[in-house]
Symmetry: C2
Subunit: 244 residues, 2 copies
């Protein structure tokens, strides 16, 4: 350990991206078909190695997104999700991957980039159920990303980011229902979001193009932290201890 002139071992550093969006009221994740070995042809998260030793991690993440999915979304807010570095997770050697999470409204249809044979949106439920197999440990990364997104809806005003610039209250409710995978009472939901000051603000008396009574439109409000938080109904397990 205290050898002279010892230099630390080098590892390969990669970034992986969990990009979540809502399409047809279902949560989707951006996946690419790998164009190179290993796992050539398999589905995987967009991502890749750092390009040079001084590249910033988030810069690498944005670059990979552009390269593999031709998505030049500079405004996309990437957030640290976790580190995946178990030895043996990548057959090419020791690869430590830093995962980032982004959540956004209807993103454009991606197109194939240089390193991937194709990029497309896949339903998250099909990934998590195992119907779609992913390369490496990417199933775990997607799981962690979805869990993180679900938790964020509780305390942050993130749900509005899933909608367009303006939206109706039932649009917003459908975001919660799609991400949480449950259904909510519309009456209690209306009350809750309207009394959470700064969550949503009216966006003019516009109307909407459907049958039935037209809905009022809203925009995201200035309040970014929901207090009190939205409550996610608890699944029966572990709500009560097995005491008594």
């Amino acid at each position: 350990m205290a050898e002279d002139r010892w230099t630390p071992p080098a590892v390969m550093l990669a970034v992986d991206l969990v990009i979540l969006t809502l399409r047809e009221w279902r949560l989707h994740v951006l996946l690419v078909e790998r164009g190179v070995e290993p796992f050539k042809g398999a589905l995987a998260l967009p991502g890749g190695f750092l390009q040079h030793a001084e590249e910033d991690l988030t810069a690498a993440a944005h670059r990979e997104l552009a390269e593999e999915a031709a998505m030049n979304v500079e405004t996309l807010h990437l957030e640290h999700l976790g580190v995946y570095g178990t030895p043996g997770r990548d057959p090419r050697g020791r690869v430590v991957s830093v995962a980032y999470l982004a959540i956004a409204p209807g993103l454009p249809e991606p197109t194939a980039g240089t390193d991937a044979a194709g990029a497309r949106w896949q339903r998250v439920d099909q990934v998590l159920s195992g119907d779609l197999k992913l390369a490496f440990d990417h199933w775990q990364i997607v799981w962690d990303g979805v869990e993180s997104a679900r938790a964020k809806l509780e305390r942050s005003a993130l749900a509005t980011a899933f909608c367009g610039p303006t939206f109706t209250i039932s649009d917003l409710q459908q975001v919660y229902e799609a991400v949480w995978g449950i259904s909510l009472d519309p009456r209690n939901f209306y009350r809750k979001v309207q009394k959470t000051s700064g969550f949503i603000v009216a966006a003019g008396p516009e109307r909407k193009v459907t049958t039935g009574r037209p809905a009022r439109l809203f925009r995201a409000g200035p309040c970014k932290v929901l207090n009190p938080p939205m409550v996610r109904p608890v699944e029966p397990s572990n709500a009560k201890g097995p005491e008594e």
Copy 2:
């Protein structure tokens, strides 16, 4: 980008450890005095480079803890805290550091290890206030670790882990007060913890060695997730949006 035989750049990977404990009802963090350049002599978090390319990250974290603080705490549960990889954060080159967080009850007094001139507990408030300067970006890492610990107290039964095997309710209250840095109403606290099923369980009719009425002892219960969570009083800022 699509060069043949291109190999990714190597980076140096380090681990850093935020070990939090409670001593004299104040939150303390384990710091070492650096024995080598850079920042020789300065205070820093325990941590260091991976030893070999196949070392597991958590294994490296435990090894550094043993080396730098002579703390062989195999049972210590380390949890991923974040990644700190801004280019330039380490004068030796591109170093990406993975930070881990551990929270534990009265840990032993550390002793100096091989790579550090000394290891000791420092009060977290003195670090966060800037009275104690830390090497690298370790101030930020400590901040993130403390924030994470504060948030964990809300939804998890972690606070019991700060106490010994048995504890009184006011012991537990003091954990919350020390970590959150506020004071709580003992009557409401009693009610809350007692009605949170599975949080604490009675540990016999034992008594305690102080003046005044002896207190009942409890042990940590089986319930790991607090539902509903403990509520942390909100600081006045951002509780309300600036609307209306």
